[in-house]
């Protein structure tokens, strides 16, 4: 169990995040708390290490904000929709397991897309094929092939948003090329 040396891109965001957690738990962001939190975060990152996350090194704040707003709207409408289905449709529900092939092969993007898809009520990741980066989703109230196709389009759209936020430059260029064609 050896690990490569301290790397700036993967460890610094993690240390900052852990320091923030420490401050939030104490409900105090004074210098003393933060410095102590920083020390603890450093110790935790170096002793209880996890497999490093492959970050691309870029993060687009603007894309993130617009994605978050869209995400919240989706969350509210989809929650109400599931409520409505539970009350009106109930036992007469028809579902489907749909395969969605993603563009990216980066673990981070696939995981983030799966998370966002799972959080929107009405779709749930049942299985992931990592080799071909395919998500198998269980979707509520899918009756026809058109519904399934609409579901695939939504997932690929949220993947595109994640590539814009934190994909590598190469993925971003491929996405742009794909969009200019269509």
């Amino acid at each position: 169990m050896t690990r490569q040396k301290f790397s700036l891109v993967t460890d610094v965001p993690l240390i900052l995040w852990l320091t923030f957690v420490w401050g939030a738990l104490w409900q105090d962001f004074g210098a003393g708390t933060l410095i102590f939190g920083l020390i603890i975060a450093f110790v935790v990152v170096n002793f209880f290490y996890l497999p490093p996350v492959g970050l691309s090194g870029r993060f687009n704040i603007l894309a993130f904000v617009s994605f978050s707003a869209g995400f919240l709207v989706d969350l509210v409408t989809a929650s109400i929709e599931v409520f409505w289905l539970a009350v009106t449709r109930g036992p007469a529900l028809r579902n489907a397991v749909v395969a969605v092939r993603l563009r990216s092969h980066s673990d981070l993007i696939v995981t983030a897309t799966g998370h966002a898809t799972s959080l929107i009520p009405g779709s749930l990741v049942v299985e992931v094929d990592r080799a071909s980066s395919t998500l198998y989703l269980h979707c509520l109230n899918v009756r026809t092939e058109e519904d399934a196709e609409a579901m695939r389009a939504t997932v690929r759209k949220s993947e595109a948003a994640f590539i814009r936020i934190m994909g590598t430059r190469q993925e971003l260029a491929e996405l742009r090329a794909e969009e200019s064609v269509s």
């Binding site: 050896t2 690990r3 490569q4 923030f20 957690v21 401050g23 939030a24 738990l25 409900q27 105090d28 962001f29 497999p51 490093p52 969350l75 509210v76 989809a78 929650s79 599931v82 409520f83 289905l85 539970a86 009350v87 109930g90 036992p91 529900l93 028809r94 579902n95 489907a96 397991v97 749909v98 395969a99 799966g114 998370h115 799972s118 959080l119 929107i120 009520p121 009405g122 779709s123 749930l124 990741v125 049942v126 299985e127 094929d129 990592r130 198998y136 269980h138 509520l140 899918v142 009756r143 026809t144 092939e145 399934a148």
Partner: protein, 141 residues
């Protein structure tokens, strides 16, 4: 007065999300559809409740803890839902007759045939075979 009205709306909205989970749990026909109703509206429900709490206390040092609380839920619900869903699918806890499309079924059937062909011993000790399959996914470091 205005904060009271907003708070009332937030609280009732959040409580209705819990009710949605309850109704969905009782009315939906199989495990995986119940899971949609059970886990996800809670995310919005907790968000609304925490917003109401933030409005009520109105103290700034509290906000990061509320954000943290919701963020942990955002991170953990999809993972536990995925784990339960995967266990449900693999142990056939879903009703095939309720599915209009099932694109995973063929894939799983192929994978099982492949494992059997690679090493017949896996058939006898299925648990070990599955663990190997899981381990293959872990990258080497």
């Amino acid at each position: 007065m205005l904060t009271d009205v907003v708070m009332s709306i937030l609280l009732i909205g959040g409580a209705l999300m819990s009710l949605a989970a309850g109704i969905g749990l009782v009315r939906f026909p199989d495990l995986l559809s119940r899971m949609h109703a059970a886990t996800k509206p809670q995310v919005l429900g907790l968000l609304l409740f925490l917003l109401a709490l933030a409005l009520e206390t109105g103290s700034w040092p509290l906000i990061p803890l509320l954000v943290l609380c919701w963020f942990f839920q955002l991170l953990t619900t999809p993972v536990s839902a995925h784990m339960v869903g995967r266990a449900g699918y693999r142990t056939r806890h879903l009703r095939q007759d309720l599915l209009t499309i099932d694109e995973l079924d063929d894939v799983v059937a192929c994978a099982v045939v492949e494992v059997d062909r690679d090493d017949p011993a896996h058939e006898a000790e299925g648990v070990d075979g599955r663990q190997d399959a899981d381990r293959r996914d872990v990258p080497d470091h």
